[in-house]
Symmetry: D2
Amino acid sequence: MPDRIDINSDMGESFGAYKLGRDAEVMEYISSANIACGWHAGDPMVMEQTVRMAKERGVGVGAHPGYPDLLGFGRRRMDLSMTEIENYMLYQMGALHAFAKTYGLPLQHVKAHGALGNLAFVDLEVSKAIARAVLRFSKETIFVALTGTVMVQAAKEIGVRYVEEVYADRVYNPDGTLQSRKIPGSVIHDPEKAAQQALTILKEGHVIAHDGTKVKVKPETLCVHGDTPTAISILQKIREEFKKASIAVKPMGQ
Amino acid sequence: MPDRIDINSDMGESFGAYKLGRDAEVMEYISSANIACGWHAGDPMVMEQTVRMAKERGVGVGAHPGYPDLLGFGRRRMDLSMTEIENYMLYQMGALHAFAKTYGLPLQHVKAHGALGNLAFVDLEVSKAIARAVLRFSKETIFVALTGTVMVQAAKEIGVRYVEEVYADRVYNPDGTLQSRKIPGSVIHDPEKAAQQALTILKEGHVIAHDGTKVKVKPETLCVHGDTPTAISILQKIREEFKKASIAVKPMGQ
Amino acid sequence: MPDRIDINSDMGESFGAYKLGRDAEVMEYISSANIACGWHAGDPMVMEQTVRMAKERGVGVGAHPGYPDLLGFGRRRMDLSMTEIENYMLYQMGALHAFAKTYGLPLQHVKAHGALGNLAFVDLEVSKAIARAVLRFSKETIFVALTGTVMVQAAKEIGVRYVEEVYADRVYNPDGTLQSRKIPGSVIHDPEKAAQQALTILKEGHVIAHDGTKVKVKPETLCVHGDTPTAISILQKIREEFKKASIAVKPMGQ
Amino acid sequence: MPDRIDINSDMGESFGAYKLGRDAEVMEYISSANIACGWHAGDPMVMEQTVRMAKERGVGVGAHPGYPDLLGFGRRRMDLSMTEIENYMLYQMGALHAFAKTYGLPLQHVKAHGALGNLAFVDLEVSKAIARAVLRFSKETIFVALTGTVMVQAAKEIGVRYVEEVYADRVYNPDGTLQSRKIPGSVIHDPEKAAQQALTILKEGHVIAHDGTKVKVKPETLCVHGDTPTAISILQKIREEFKKASIAVKPMGQ
């Protein structure tokens, strides 16, 4: 059983007058922040504030780049070329990095957002395009790859630094992908259940899919969503259980 | 008389299917490129290509950040707060830097675009907000300040690295600002005239305003527009005259 | 004293995943809805839903067009030409009208939003550009003009159908314009106070500015904001007082 | 053989400072204009000018709505829901209609643009969503359906007014869809060849696909692209041939 783990969560998804999420609260419980970069969500003011909060709390700063689709919150697949994906990722990584840089922080990691992230789970070429962008940006920056998917293969082929990711609050398919949000119940709201899934993952090295299948996982970073009603309770419960189990929570880049 | 000068020009203002400018041709004659960052113009594909061209020709890569107004090409003043300006600049600088970084290049300089640039000529607080963004980004990155304007004062107050800029192809007001593009004849199209203005600036240390006033200038970088019909002829003529006068053309950052 | 009045409120300012306002609740108390048109806020899905709600409740449907500045929520002045303003208004009016049309409703009115609306209070040319757009669209569509400002003059000069507007929940300047939102206390949150201001306006034909000046007003439509914490209480209180005073609340177009 | 036909072409695809197409020239040869509505291309200034030109030349005004993807010029498929498509169409139709209305013109027709149009060729549900939007807008407005595709079936099922469309300058697949633009040679640049395809279509009632298959067509409107280098020559040649064959060219709505 690992004695440490990273907890990541999506942050900085407000936009102009529109407020979303409870970033200040969630930031207390996580070790890495996936910060929106102004394409599917977020804007420069929000990015600055979110990076500052992360800096103050010792949370690792990562980019959460998405499709150029604010109207759809990056949740609608777009038919982009691999070169477009690569350059769109670089653009967003750079934009966020500017804010990290002003606080003396590196761009710790990159985690693709929404429909682009979901596509990367199952499309090797897309995964490789994202991984290539991360490697071109920096050898130190970490590509977050959903464990058990082609993202891990892409990371290896491209030679980018990477960590494998598991989800505490999402229901798994037997093939290791996440069950679509469109299916009711695919997001786990019960803190006990989410904490239990997290513990099983760490202790047993597998997650139990919706049909009972044990899916082998390599938990290096654990994702918890900050935008569910019970997000704070889930995070508290997980931190409590990790403390009991002597599992330290640290940014993936350390 | 200086024995060297930088020539800068705006680049990378195409957007998606829309093509603008003759970047490949202009790039042959300049030493620094002001590259649009996707807000008033430009997109990640264009940025990648423009940075690559600059790299191939030894041209310095700079950001040309503007207002969030693609529809108005950044030429319409927007009533932004100083914090908004600062963060908007940082965002765009970072976005462009990502592409420079992949080619092993630093972000050499930053030159504010369009209506924002024009506002900076006359508004010290705006100039300082831009200068602050540049300094926060990097001590090495150069803030381009129109000679004789409050931009120079802002640069000194903020402590950012800067160069003073003169224009070869724009008519000057007696106060050292540029005559508005809305006034016919404010952009010089005659290669002889533009080259003569450039030479006078370098040899005499002043430019002659539209009313005959001699405006003192400190020519460290010379701007030539790439989007006028005679741009290439102007650039050729200037390079020819500079060669005769033994004035070397080198990127401002060297 | 008038025996009838219209109550208008801004509606449909959500955008994609971003929710704003309590439209369903507010819609119960008003007679005219100013619906965002996708530029400063709103999107086609939101517009469809908002128009449908208005239809169901017999509320008049109006356009609330603004600057092309979603990032700034239309609250930042942009330096547009009069032709740009006119065409931008027409575009947004048409977009909203499509939804009204599908529900068999006319475009009852147009009320300029945010910084554009504020500019119209004091800039006759801007007011005329907006009024011109409304008249070009339809002789039946009503231009909403803040009472006591140049908007009324513009309406008369252009010959557009118009009504004069007063605010229940905003503090007035002695010149009849609204005190800037940037000044604390310029939005009235106290239901008693707002209802009192509304009654004074209707009974006395004037509003009392922040310095005690009595500003003459012609109350044909009364604006109440839906996005303040006490909006519902304010609306309830106003409706209660109007009922006592036998003032009917009806859409401005009837 | 029909004694009349409509010729349609895409118009108004410039955006702000970006100019595209030769609208003024093309407008001389066509009878119906498909005008971009500001989403994939176009803006209110361009829309106003294009509608005015159409009015002056007696050309029918139609909407050319597309995906919300200016960066991709509407040429990249987006995974939208049917309700989103329907409302996005309505929005764009209404926006264009505002300009038509100011010139006393109806919205003659609607033709879906780019990747959305291509999807409609093969996806009945998408075709129906578009047809539904057209019908909701007006019983008079014509839905343009590529002959031989599910668009025709959709038009019939929904009960919208429609015409069947053929292409003069695109290579056909044996199933009646257009060969992808990504395949070299899929756009016909030779005026003789394009005019010949147009004549064959009208005289024989079929088009010859790239493999020699004769695809039955019902030519009610003929599309010619205005953005190819030989567009004007193609249009001239077609008009010449139609004149010889006594085929009148008239707006589809007449």
